[in-house]
Every structure is written in C-alpha cells, then in structure tokens.
C-alpha cells in the first residue's frame, strides 16, 4: 500500500532539513524557475526598483538597532500607514524589509519557519552564517519574479552571534541575493540615500561613532534619519506628527530582541527630534 496517501511521505530525507524544498515538494511554494524575459519586453518594463520605503540598521553600544518607517505605497498612493517592516525571525534575528510587501512578508515567513524547521529536525540551532545564507538563497530563488518586475525585495538582516565570537552581526543584500556584511550601518529602500548620508556623517564626525552611542542617542539618530528621508522621499513616512505614528524600532542584543514601546520612542522624539 502506498503510505504517502495516508498522510505523510515515507521516503523522507531527514538529513536535508531544508524547509523551502519541503514546501516545494508539497506544492506550497512557487518553483525557483528563472524564466526568460518576454521577447518584446522594453527596457522600461524589465526592471523598475520599487523598494519604496526606508529601513536602516546600525550597531551601537547595546547591540544592533533596526528601524523602519510605517508607510506602504502602491505607485504614488499611500496604502497603509501602520505597516511593520521590521520582522522578528527568531529570538536573536531580525529581518527588515524594503520591496514588494507580498513577496517580502512571504519571504520572512519562509525564513522564520525554515530556521525553526532546521532546529527541530536537526536538533541544533542553525549557525549565523547558515541563517544569512538561507535568506540569500530565498532572494536568489525569487529572482525570476524580480526580472519580471513584480517581486523585488531588498532586506537587511540583523542578528546576534552567541556562538563563535559573541557579537552583533549586520547584513544587507541586493535583489539577486548577494550578501554584504556591514561593519557599522546599513540602509535600504527608496529613502536610503539620505539615511546613508546621515549615518556616514554621524559615524565619522558626530560627537561619538555609532558603535559607542547610548540607546537613547541611537534612537534619536534613527528617528532623525527617518524623518530626513521622509522630507524628500514620498514613500517614506518618517514620523507622523499629527497621527502620532512612530517608526518601529527593535534592538537585537545578547539577551534577545527588544521592541521599543511607542511611549519610549515618543519621549525621545519629543525631546531630541520634534
């Protein structure tokens, strides 16, 4: 009798522990085919960067701070003003997303489940390098959609490596899945040029380099940077003063992830930014 009809696959491949391939086997995740571009696609149709948002991350004295504004847009329409683009993947890892929300959230969900699946099946935590590589592979698998102009995602990945050498680690990616380790800071999304300017300036000529900042100073720089990005980029909300909507700010440290309460962000905003 064919057991697979009864509920599960007898020909399991326990050693692999790869959740995306399990999902594909069950038809729950789209295949990784990078299809040829349409023959008559014009240059404009081929690829348009649509990562309309701003996310940033930098290392400070208490770990890595990751911040994202709350605006979601479609073309030049604001769709949602309470989007959460800073997503917890596990107890020590954050993925912040810029790009097409449907793809980005799905990717975060696959990554989150992949890491759990790995831990449960293989009975050990995935290494930081393994996690970084998993996200890279998801981006790579998604590249067919990027080429079709419908699914570009450019994330930042922040984590705390408790194993080999205890330290905060920060990575950013391009849409094809190349990973870059950032020494001090990273920013992606349409508002990132302004943010990178500010972080570069602060890191080199500010009162203190970024990695020596206290939590309060770090939060205030994150808020100022997002507000500056919002000044010229319509896809970035910065701080909504009338609606009292603040960016999402999370901190990754040895102890895990802390989500800063809105009241705390509001207090820093009132004192240092507004």
């Amino acid at each position: 009798m064919d057991h697979s009809q009864l509920g599960f696959d007898q020909n399991f491949s326990g050693a692999a522990g790869d959740f995306p391939s399990l999902l594909r086997r069950k038809g729950l995740l789209s295949p990784t085919v990078i299809g040829p571009m349409s023959q008559n696609a014009t240059q404009q149709q081929v690829w348009q960067p649509t990562e309309a948002t701003t996310i940033l991350a930098f290392k400070f004295s208490g770990g890595v701070l990751v911040a994202g504004d709350r605006r979601a847009t479609a073309g030049n329409t604001v769709v949602y003003d309470r989007a959460d683009k800073v997503l917890e993947i596990d107890r020590h890892s954050i993925m912040a997303i810029a790009g097409v929300p449907a793809t980005a959230w799905e990717m975060a969900r696959v990554l989150e489940h992949s890491l759990q699946y790995f831990r449960r099946t293989q009975l050990q935590e995935m290494s930081v390098d393994g996690k970084v590589r998993s996200l890279s592979k998801l981006l790579r698998d998604n590249f067919g959609f990027v080429m079709q102009g419908v699914g570009v995602v450019v994330p930042i990945f922040a984590t705390y490596d408790g194993n080999s050498k205890p330290e905060a680690r920060l990575y950013f990616y391009d849409a094809m899945g190349a990973q870059f380790e950032a020494t001090d800071y990273a920013a992606t999304g349409s508002g990132s040029p302004a943010v990178r300017g500010i972080l570069y300036y602060e890191n080199n000529w500010g009162p203190k380099p970024l990695h020596k900042l206290s939590e309060e100073d770090a939060v205030s720089i994150a808020l100022r940077a997002l507000d500056t990005a919002a000044e010229s980029d319509t896809a970035t909300a910065g701080v909504d003063r009338s609606g009292k909507i603040y960016p999402v700010i999370k901190i990754v440290s040895r102890e895990g992830i802390t989500t800063l309460p809105e009241s705390k962000i509001a207090a820093v905003f009132k004192e240092m930014v507004a």
Partner: protein
Amino acid sequence: MIEEPYRWVEAIANRREYIEGQLAPGSPIAALGYRDGILFLTLGQTRQKLFEIYDRIAMGAIGHPGDIERLRMAAIELASTEGFTRSAADVSLRRLVHYSLSPVMKSAFEQVYGPPYLTRMLFAEVGARPEDDLFLRVEYDGEIASNGATHARARQDFAVLSGTRQSGELMEASLKTGHTPVASFESAVQAALDAWSVGHMLLQVTDAKELPERAAIAQHRREQLARAAIEAAVLERDTSNAIRYRSLSDKELRSLISD
C-alpha cells in the same frame, strides 16, 4: 498461508509479542502537567529521547532509533507545513496523531510482509490552563491512549511511557498520589523522578501489583541518579513566547533535587 484469516491473526500475534519484547527494556518517560507548563523527564543512558515537534507540542519515544526518527520527522513535517500554510494555532496534536500518525502505524503493523514501526511514543500539547493540556500515547499498532476522562477513570494531568504495561500502570499509580496539576516546577520534578524510578524498578519484575516501598523507591532513585544523566524538557504555559519548548540541562535540574 498468510491469506487465511487464522494465519493472519497468528502472524499479528507473533509480531505483537516480538515488538513487546523489543520495547520491554526501554527507559520510562514521565510527562506531567504542572502550574507553569508540561514537564517531560527521563533518565537517559545514551540516546536523546525527548524532542520538540512544534511550538506547543513535544514528544518522547522509546524503541528503534530509525523508526522513531522517521515518525518524528513526519510529525515535524506535517506540523510545520500546517503552521506555515495556515497558522501555528491551527497545528493540533489531536489531528496530527489521529489523522496522520495512527493510521500509518496501524497499516504498517498489519501488513505482515512489511516492517512495523518499532516504537512507542508519548506526545503532549500544552494548553492555556492545566485542564487544557493534552497527552496522547501512540502504540506501535496505532492504538492511541489519551489523558481524557473515560467511564473507568477521571481525567489525568500526566501521562507515562514505559517498556512494559505493568511498569506504566504503576508509574501512573505513583503520579496519581504524588502529583497535582497546580504543583510547582520543583515538585513536578520530584514527582517525575519518583515515577521514573517506580517504572524503571518494575521493568525487571514480572508480577508486581502494588507500588514498592517508599524507601526502596528513594534508594533506587539515588542509585540511578548517581549513574545516569537526567534528560528533561518543558513546554511552557507562558504565552509571551510563541515557541514553548525548552530543553533542560542535567546541571540545571541537579541543583533542584534535594536528596
């Protein structure tokens, strides 16, 4: 031949006897619902016997490592795909065991030309309150025993797994008197260690009807603790983390044990 009904029954009976013999020396596992979660505890010699299945589900098993591994992997795959496509709240131990594992184990057991699963498993799912905790024990033939109330006995806030029926029954008797669902973590650990000791002592005895003397249990427990490592895990009731499973180190537990 096997096609004749009588031969089939005989073949199944032989197979049952063989599997029971193989499982008989298995080190017992006790699972106890207490105030802040569910505790799984056993004294291990070499192999890991307690596993995380999903956010709120854990498993303990005795038997052949290859068979345990296949079923463990199947359970994780099923729970993970369900949790991914729907949500973690839709992953249910009852469905996992009743609709997927049990039918597969039953048919493997009854296909007398194919290999059966040589394992006995204990699953638990932590609930919001101790009354909501679910324990399911799955036999090699797909038989399921739950901790729910039946006409013969009240609901139990614990479940056990052992190599022999008699050892398991007396472990339950030990927990019936020695454990309450409102117990603290420390007293749950004590009750679990006592139950394990009872179960382990009675694996060698063929016709015990009653619990051993308290002193004998305590002595056996001391001897075994000096020899073997404690393997334990909890499913926490605390809802602040989605993932409730946490394995406990031997060192962590030794400091709690009084004697």
